[in-house]
């Protein structure tokens, strides 16, 4: 009870019609930590992220955020209290331009109620928007329709849309999957440095161990719905169980 945790799960469990997708998940996250979540496909990583952000309702167990019980809240409520996420498959507005995507994200994060009836192309908003686009190095593409962009660009946009509301906790679901090898470090450099600056707590799901080793403070490894290791990367990546079940050799 001495340390303050920003996010804490107790005995979290999820089953789909009898099949257990996650169980006994006890994780505590300190503010400002950057955590890598690893595990083979189907180990329960995305289920975990989905439960925290309210896309799935846990079958049992408890999720606490800043001391408050947030078990089973709706995605938009999670967003409101400061738990945001990006997606394994980029969830962006395909028929709009990059800038429109971000403008909508921003206006929803900033305004409420009747203010939403004001015109979208507000000058102040537009400038702020450009700043973020600049930060994530997608400003040159700002007037392109999203469906014409590369996967990497979409991923960046997806992440930038998740951060506009200045979340306290950000969950990134495989930020580099589908991104080319040349792009991936560039993206992670941009994302992590931006988030470190704002002191955001980050949990990201990742398959690429190079990325995990380079950026995270702590590794949580999943295997068959359970946490098999929770340690700093130097230790975790040498852990026998992790090597056997996650790294696969």
């Amino acid at each position: 009870m001495t340390e303050k945790f920003i996010l804490k799960t107790t005995e979290l469990q999820k089953s789909f019609s009898g099949i257990i997708a996650a169980e006994d998940i006890n994780i505590s996250v300190k503010e400002g930590e950057i955590i890598g979540i690893i595990g083979a496909n189907g180990a329960g990583k995305t289920v975990f992220v989905n439960m925290i952000t309210g896309y799935l309702k846990p079958s049992s167990g408890k999720i606490e955020f800043m001391g408050r019980d947030i078990t089973g809240i709706k995605p938009r409520e999670a967003t409101h209290i400061g738990v945001c996420r990006s997606f394994q498959v980029s969830q962006v507005f395909m028929t709009m331009t990059v800038k429109e995507n971000l403008m909508i994200a921003m206006s929803l994060a900033k305004k409420s109620g009747l203010e939403l009836l004001l015109p979208l192309d507000d000058e102040k908003l537009s400038k702020e928007c450009d700043k973020i686009l600049d930060l994530y190095k997608i400003k040159n593409q700002s007037n392109l329709i999203v469906s014409t962009l590369s996967q990497g660009m979409r991923k960046l946009l997806d992440i930038s849309m998740a951060v506009v509301g200045n979340p306290n906790v950000l969950l990134l679901d495989e930020p580099t999957s589908g991104v080319s090898v040349e792009e991936k470090f560039g993206i992670m450099d941009i994302v992590i440095s931006a988030l470190k600056k704002s002191g955001t707590t980050v949990l990201f799901v990742e398959h690429d161990m190079e990325i995990v080793e380079r950026y995270v403070d702590r590794v949580i490894a999943f295997y068959q719905g359970q946490v098999i290791c929770d340690a700093p990367p130097s230790k975790a990546l040498k852990d026998k169980k992790v090597i056997k079940y996650v790294l696969g050799s």
Binding site: R76, T79, Q91, F93, L116, L117, L120, M161, A162
Partner: protein
């Protein structure tokens, strides 16, 4: 359905309160349809695509079933509506026309403002990706509900004006699903996303229908159906996108 509901609201207010003022008529129609839309919106907002369409169809058929059998509302014969007035004076044919134009302009201005707003842009966002909108912290259902009420209001207002100008309301020409079909046809023909487009579309639709009816009374539906298919095939964005393309080509040629 809201179109018919607006029209019937006007008719009922005349019958029970003797209300014939054009402003009152318009606002009653808008308000009645808006309220109905608000109430049904709570149910409808959970549905998408084909299910949304089907449930709307069911609701409108329920309304049709009720109106067609309700004796006090004139059953299938409907009710007649006396000429509109303004501050006690009777409006002539042209007077009514001016007022209708006025209301149409109001509606256009309003709709334009809505489409420019964040909420208006949200519509495209929702059709692109609902999950993302939820994760941005806005309730998709709420946005749909608002939009639904707005369109119900517009349709209701149109119905009210139609009732005032026709001088007659009846279920077959106001509430039946084929009426909605016609309206959807106009929308498709004109293309989405621009306010002036439906106006052009509506004019053209009436034009085609009148002429088709004159030329081939037995085959006018066929002509309309053929036009619909042709539009869907050759210009899926509607006539508006067709004009845009023409404009684009012209510019290209000039350059």
């Amino acid at each position: 359905m809201y179109y018919g509901f607006g029209a019937y609201a006007v008719a009922m207010c005349q019958k029970y309160f003797g209300m014939t003022d054009i402003f009152l008529r318009f606002f009653i129609a808008v308000a009645a349809a808006g309220l109905l839309g608000f109430a049904l919106g709570f149910i409808l907002r959970r549905y998408r695509e084909i299910f949304f369409a089907m449930l709307s169809l069911a609701f409108s058929m329920v309304l049709y079933g009720l109106l067609a059998k309700a004796e006090f509302l004139g059953s299938t014969d409907g009710m007649s509506i006396s000429p509109s007035t303004i501050l006690g004076y009777e409006l002539g044919r042209f007077g009514l026309l001016y007022f209708i134009c006025f209301f149409v302009i109001c509606a256009i201005v309003f709709a334009q403002a809505y489409l420019r707003s964040s909420l208006g842009h949200l519509t495209t966002a929702i059709s692109d990706n609902e999950i993302r909108v939820e994760y941005l912290g806005y309730s998709v259902e709420k946005a749909i509900h608002i939009k639904y009420v707005i369109s119900a209001c517009l349709a209701g207002g149109a119905g009210g004006l139609m009732a005032a100008s026709l001088g007659q309301v009846d279920p077959d020409s106001m509430v039946l699903w084929s009426v909605s079909g016609e309206l959807v046809f106009v929308t498709i023909m004109s293309g989405l996303g621009n306010i002036l487009a439906p106006f052009m579309g509506a004019v053209l639709f009436e034009f085609i229908r009148t002429y088709a009816f004159e030329l081939a009374p037995q085959a006018w539906q066929m002509i309309i159906g053929g036009t619909l298919l042709a539009i869907i095939f050759f210009s899926p964005g509607g006539l508006w996108s067709f004009f845009q393309k023409l404009n684009f080509l012209r510019k290209k040629n000039n350059d």
